[in-house]
Amino acid sequence: MRVSITINAVQCLLEIEPGDILLDVLRREGYVEVKGDCHTGDCGACTVLLDGKPVASCLMLAAKADGHAVTTVRGIGDQRHPHALQKAFVHNGAIQCGYCIPGAITSAKALLDENPEPTREDIRLAMDGNYCRCTGYEQQIEAVLEAARELREGGFR
């Protein structure tokens, strides 16, 4: 079947099978910035934004994204133009192996879009589904607080 998904602001017409999982389709189509291994929605590494809301792409049928907008971490910012969250993750030592980071930053982006002034508890709650085995989370929480501050002071979101 053919679906139309807007990926990182570009409309993509994709030929898929009805049972295809969004994560697998995204990676097959070259959006390998979306990571993920569990395929059970437990680890959060595959998080993308669907019309601005975080979803586990490993649990979602690609067909269900038809007509919707998907944003990956590369749509949030790339190496030439990193987003404040990406900068803050780098500056705060919030990245070790990096495998969970695209999902974590994506969840954080959804949070800041909703709530530009989150508390630590808000961050812990919003990103609770994003497992990280390396960092112990604290520096990631500090990074999100810093990025939120940066975005508020910069006057943009």
Binding site: Q86, N92, Q96
Partner: protein, 809 residues
């Protein structure tokens, strides 16, 4: 430096030399690539560059122990899209160990690519390579296997009993006594511990049991192999040990090293589990047979069942002391469950003693002995802490009980008995990694400060023994003390190469394997410091067996110390070459012997580097001490490459050290125990650590936080559960609970630097030590809160509640 409710305190050492890049929190060199999801992991490369690759799917054994009486792959092979099925019938029968360790290998050769004899649920039976993963999965189901089931050993306590099923009847090379299922055995004694224990005023003896738990890196094991245009097999793998992987695969498959290259891209976490060759042999074999790129990526379930775990151990710990608490004798017996194969069986068990007992060096009679036994359960291997984690559980909880028996403060008891600067322990020499060790004298330690600052941070004096109660919840505090090592002395070797570029920048190639730890970054910092440049002048390439020099790999807390030593030596060597050219350009004399002198890592501080009294590096320039004149390093490069006495300015240096300076740590936990439900909540945790000079304080903090988080999970929730047939029944991240953000208590990290004279820029290791604290510290806090002593881990509500009930009845 406070940030919200948690703290990071970093106390620097004023005696360390002044530095500009070392000691600074610089960004990780791969930070932005990782933050933006760049295609840097093995599977990303496979997806992007090899869309027509074959996908491998493994058939695992459904039974714990048995013999394959027949295996028919015809139907699977006939399925359209299937290219290759590998079983014991068509693969080399080489015996090897999956453990990626040095040479000669200390683990028994009890593994084959495939065998008729399956030894645990999940053991390899066959692998299918097909056009798609779905076809491969379907084909695996078409393989017809019949098994003759054998009685299984599902309890390590029964492995050595008379009449127990023999798991490795082939008597593997290197196994201690396969007829009794003993993969490895160790027994070292200093003095006469049994006599000493009968003569001491007080003798305490306890038994602790630790459980099956796993690393669970976010990226599962993944390997890709493809033949290049000239027939060379290139393996891209999420490995911690590229060189060991190449050596082992070369041996298994008989491929000469000229035809085999191992490349490590970014790795999505290792923690020890990727110090194993689990998939590289399969993809390399398949790439050779099919001529196609072949990939295998463990599913999360396979990662749990078929990769590696921590060795569960039963430890008998005895301590003898006088009435004043002076330790006289330490005796530790370990029964280590090494599962179906003896990967790391000897060395992990050795570490259980060698990384714990020297901490209390006042005891003069010490015995450490143990057996690592085969069972028909999943295979343990290397895991952050490497046996010390289990050892500290027994040691630090027993000391806590001893303090209670003596009526002493546990901190005071430890201070009285702990190793101090200038002291050694006979254990260092008696017990190494699978062989005799190397004598060590402690040259740096912040332990006294760590104990005091940690106690202060947790509120020890206000809380210890107070059992502050709120309804049915009661609080307590506990602590523990630790050391680890920095590489394996006289075994671990690392090398580094540096080349000078015309613009005055450098290309650093290292064998060191960055698995997310940040080693590419901190090693570049060390080079930049010697060369007087910023991070922007160092380009790093690591871990490629064709392109970078040798390194044993990322394990044994070796990278900062051992690979760092190689980088500092290489930087000094290339710096001296640059000085020689600069001297010519300035028309100044420079003694050739100074230029050619073997660079010494420990010259940083204790002995001045003699050449520095003639020239030094400053901001990309060579500065003459005698004339105060400057030569840009870029000019040196242009002259050497294009003009006068033309030659490459480059070097390769190696580092191997007789030293393995231990980092030290003191951990403190405050817990709240719900006496109604048995739930233990850690409400505050403090990790105070000494890792010498912190090369990059933010990355140091991250290592400690990550290790502590993993350690708290190990203590409270992470546990393999088995069905009656030795089958793991909770093989998913839903059922096997690692800690999430909301599970984490505030963790104070206190880093107290000191200058380790044998380390590169004064550094020691930091990667592993942090995981050893939570199990004993939380156990001791539960004891403080409730008076119950838990001798088995993890501290689940069921276990705590049972102990509370047993106490009250």
């Amino acid at each position: 430096m406070s940030s919200g409710p948690t703290w990071f305190r970093h106390v620097t050492d004023a005696s360390a030399p002044e530095t500009h890049v070392v000691g600074a929190t610089v960004d990780k060199v791969d930070g932005y690539a990782l933050a933006t999801g760049a295609p840097v992991y093995t599977d990303d490369i496979a997806v992007q560059s090899f869309p027509s690759r074959l996908h491998g799917c493994i058939l695992g054994s459904p039974i714990a122990h048995g013999i394959i009486t027949s295996i028919d792959t015809a139907e699977a092979e006939a399925l359209p899209g299937v290219h290759l099925v590998l079983t014991y019938k068509n693969t080399p029968r080489t015996f090897y160990t999956t453990a990626g360790q040095g040479w000669p290998e200390p683990s028994p050769y009890d593994n084959q690519m495939f065998t008729e004899h399956v030894r645990f649920v999940g053991d390899r039976v066959a692998v299918v390579f097909a056009n798609t993963a779905a076809i491969a999965e379907k084909a695996v189901k078409l393989i017809n296997v019949t098994y003759q089931e054998l009685p299984a050993v599902l309890d390590a306590d029964e492995a050595m009993t008379e009449g127990a099923p023999v798991i490795h009847p082939e008597d593997p090379k290197g196994a201690y006594d396969a007829t009794r299922n003993i993969a490895a055995h160790v027994d070292i004694s200093v003095g006469d511990v049994d006599r000493a224990l009968t003569q001491t005023d007080i003798c305490i003896s306890e038994t602790y049991r630790s459980h099956y738990a796993q690393h669970t890196p976010m990226e599962t094991h993944t390997a890709l192999a493809y033949p290049d245009a000239f027939g060379k097999i290139i393996i891209v793998s999420s490995t911690q040990v590229p060189w060991h992987a190449r050596r082992i695969v070369s041996r298994i498959l008989g491929i000469p090293m000229t035809q085999l290259r191992v490349v490590k891209p970014r790795v999505g976490g290792g923690f020890g589990t990727k110090q194993e060759v689990l998939l590289e042999d399969l993809v390399a074999c398949a790439a050779m047979r099919t001529g196609r790129p072949c990939e295998i990526k463990y599913t999360r379930k396979e990662e749990f069942i078929s990769s590696r775990t921590r060795h569960p151990m039963k430890i008998d710990m005895a301590i003898g002391c006088d009435r004043d608490g002076n330790f006289k004798a330490l005796k530790m017996y370990v029964l280590s469950n090494t599962g179906a194969y003896g990967s790391h069986s000897l060395t992990v068990m050795s570490n259980t003693g060698s990384k714990t007992l020297p901490l209390y060096n006042k005891a003069h009679d010490v015995r450490f002995y143990g057996d690592a036994v085969y069972t028909n359960l999943p295979v343990p291997g290397a895991y952050r802490g490497y046996g010390a984690t289990q050892g500290y559980f027994a040691l630090e909880c027993t000391i806590d009980d001893l303090a209670a028996q003596l009526g002493m403060d546990p901190i005071a008891l430890r201070k009285q008995n702990m190793i101090r600067i200038g002291e050694g322990s006979p254990i260092f020499e008696a017990l190494g990694e699978g062989r005799q060790g190397v004598a060590q004298t402690i040259k740096s330690s912040s332990l006294p400060a760590l104990l005091d600052m940690g106690a202060d941070a947790i509120g020890w004096s206000a809380k210890r023994g107070k059992r502050i109660r709120s309804g049915h919840r009661v609080r307590g505090v506990g602590m523990s003390m630790h050391m680890q090592g920095s590489g394996i002395p006289l075994i671990d070797m690392a090398s580094a190469s540096l080349k000078l570029n015309e613009d005055g920048s450098y290309f650093l190639t290292i064998g060191a394997t960055d698995i997310g730890t940040g080693s590419d970054t901190i090693l570049a910092q060390m080079a930049a410091e010697v060369l007087g440049v910023g991070m922007d002048k160092i380009s790093v390439l690591s871990s490629d067996t064709d392109l970078t020099p040798f390194d044993t790999g990322a394990y044994a807390s070796s990278t900062t110390f051992v690979s760092g030593g190689a980088v500092v030596k290489a930087a000094k060597s290339i710096r001296n070459q640059i000085f020689a050219v600069a001297a010519q350009m300035l028309g100044e004399e420079l003694d050739e012997s100074l230029v050619r002198a073997e660079p010494k890592v420990e010259w940083d501080n204790m002995q001045p580097d003699p050449i520095l009294s003639f020239y030094h590096m400053e901001d990309g320039n060579v500065v003459s001490v005698r004339s105060d004149r400057k030569v840009p390093v870029s000019d040196v490069a242009y002259r050497s490459y294009y003009e006068v006495n033309q030659r490459q300015i480059a070097t390769t240096q190696s580092f191997v050290s007789p030293y393995s300076p231990p980092p030290f740590a003191a951990h403190f936990a405050e817990v709240e125990v719900d006496e109604l439900t048995g739930k233990v909540e850690v409400v505050h945790y403090v990790a105070a650590v000494d890792c010498g000079v912190s090369i990059n304080p933010s990355l140091v903090r991250g290592q400690i936080l990550g290790a502590v988080t993993n350690g708290i999970g190990f203590a409270l929730t992470e546990e393999y559960r088995f069905g009656s047939h030795g089958n793991m029944i909770n093989a998913s991240l839903f059922d096997y609970k690692i800690l999430s953000r909301r599970d984490m208590p505030p963790v104070d990290v206190i880093v107290v630097d000191n200058y380790e004279p044998t380390g590169p820029w004064g550094a020691k290791s930091v990667a592993e030590i942090g995981i050893n604290g939570p199990l004993p510290a939380i156990g001791n806090a539960i004891f403080d809160a409730t008076g119950i002593r838990l001798h088995a881990s993890p501290y689940t509500p069921e276990r705590v509640l049972a102990a509370l009930h047993a106490k009250s009845s």
